[in-house]
Amino acid sequence: MNRPKTWLLVFVALIWAASWFQGAINPYYFDILITIGINIVLGVSLNLVNGYTGQFSLGHAGFMAVGAYVSAAMTIFLCPRWLAACGGGSTAESALFLGALVAGGFGAALAGLAVGVPSLRLKGDYLAIVTLGFGEIIRVMVQNTEAVGGSRGLSIPARETGLFTTYLAAALAVYVVVSLVHSTYGRGFLMVRDDEVAAEAMGINTTKYKVMAFVVGAFFAGIAGGLYAHFKQFIHPEGFGFLRSVDIVVIVILGGMGNTPGVILAAILLTILPEGLRALAALEALPVWLRGMIQNRMILYSLLLIGLMLTRPQGLFSGGGKWLRWWKRRQA
């Protein structure tokens, strides 16, 4: 048994135990907890593409949409029939939900493949816009598919997403990304980011690594989409637009590109922040103009982005290792 796998198992056991008490959690906090989990999955998976592999994608919400719609369609159209066939029961229901999530993940991975392959020749700005375009094309396609509600949106009957599934997905996403990046095999991602020409000269098939980053990233975005759909119980194509992608990009940049712990922290921070801002905006003591400005969190996010790029392009939470060493020295 090695350490990463042990950590994963211990964490899964912990959330499994915790999920027994999820009924006791105040619905408001429960909502935030789940959203944090989903945002961790999204941020960590996008970090593989944007952070470690250096391929700037602005279409993560598109993959999320694919996952959300595929899994929702499974739940709505296929699961009732299968449930009837196997006699029902809550275990069967949970299994089918997991199946729907994975199907959503694979659907999104397929979309990731479709985006990854033609995007290979592109870099930086171009890639960003093309992935943005792909995300929008996915949105328009969903909008034009009446079977899944088109532009009216789609309601999902059951609220299946719970603490356990959400954080299981988060743990798996983190495990997969960290494992890949910390193996000789997965270091190809970093080489592609640093210097594609040199990477090729070292025998790295840069194409393979780029596509792999896109596919793995999209898979987890799809899982996150499924979790989101089965939590909110209503999805709408507009909910997976460009701005949603930007939300995820902000998580990655704030956390630090290629810094998984930082991205996890940023996912937590950026999920709580709007709640805090809402409370702040309700304060009568503040001037009206400030309260108005606070209500639009994107103003703060955009200023944060610009400010970070000007002063700390490596992200808010880089240098974590330094603090850890300092702390360890103090302990010793």
Partner: protein, 263 residues
């Protein structure tokens, strides 16, 4: 010399470039180049600035595709192969403007170049079983061994781009060797070095070639370096090969003198 023995025995060359031309628009950067390198040979490629030396390198390593002509390595054509495939066949290179992986440490730069020879793929990296751990360990040992040979082991955790210039050049050579090449291409390894460093470099190249039983193709400006170690030298000017021979022959070749000094 080994290579001469081979040639006399009629062995086919390791690398064979036949009538290769690279044109950018109307400009022929390399035209009708013929070049062959034998197993274990140390060959030099010289020429004035802009003569097409680096283009020839990019041609061999698959960065450029020849407009015309044929390149064979180890008996098989490599025209149209992607650079990583050519590296896999056994050609490694260094770069004129050093291209280390900036975010990787010295150790990881070399380790990354071992990637190609791994038998284990994505599932092993995720499962992290015993076989995977053993292979990772084997790679680490090999990297450490290489770094020790080139006296870079004490720097293994340093960020690669923070090294002194000479060490960076050496690291690039180590990194190239980690791909286990049969032919090593060195693109101006002595650029920016002082005389002492150059002497050290000459020693290093010779040592590397003997230790790893390599063929080496060396592009270099510094005549003393080239004349000092190369068994055979080819001279390029305006994309064409104007001479080839032993250092002695090249030194006395009229065309070469004209190309360098002008008429």
């Amino acid at each position: 010399m080994a290579s001469l023995v081979e040639k006399e025995a009629g062995m086919s060359p390791l690398l064979e470039i036949n009538d290769c031309t690279v044109a950018f628009g109307g400009l022929k950067a390399v035209s009708e180049l013929n070049l062959s390198i034998h197993q274990g040979e140390l060959m030099g490629l010289i020429g004035p600035n802009g003569a097409g030396k680096t283009t020839a390198f990019n041609l061999i390593t698959g960065v450029y595709r020849p407009t015309d002509g044929e390149i064979r390595f180890d008996g098989r054509s490599i025209v149209g192969r992607r650079p990583y495939q050519i590296t896999a066949r056994g050609i490694a290179r260094t770069f004129q403007n050093i291209r280390l992986f900036a975010s990787l440490s010295v150790f990881d730069n070399v380790r990354a170049a071992c990637n190609m020879h791994l038998r284990h793929g994505i599932s092993h990296a995720l499962w992290r079983g015993d076989a995977f751990a053993q292979e990772e360990k084997a790679v680490e040992d090999r990297v450490m061994e290489l770094l020790e040979i080139f006296h870079l082991d004490h720097l293994c955790n340093a960020p690669s781009t923070g090294l002194p210039y000479g060490d960076q050049r050496r690291l690039e050579i180590v990194r190239a060797l980690a791909t286990r090449p049969k032919l090593l291409l060195l693109d101006e390894p002595a650029a920016g070095m002082n005389p002492t460093e150059k002497q050290e470099l000459v020693r290093l190249i010779r040592f590397t070639q003997e230790k790893f039983k390599l063929a080496v193709l060396l592009v270099e400006h510094d005549m003393r370096v080239v004349m000092g170690i190369c068994e055979r030298i080819a001279v390029l000017d305006y994309g064409m090969k104007i001479a080839e021979g032993t250092p002695e022959e090249i030194r006395n070749n009229r065309k070469v003198i004209e190309a360098y000094l002008g008429e």
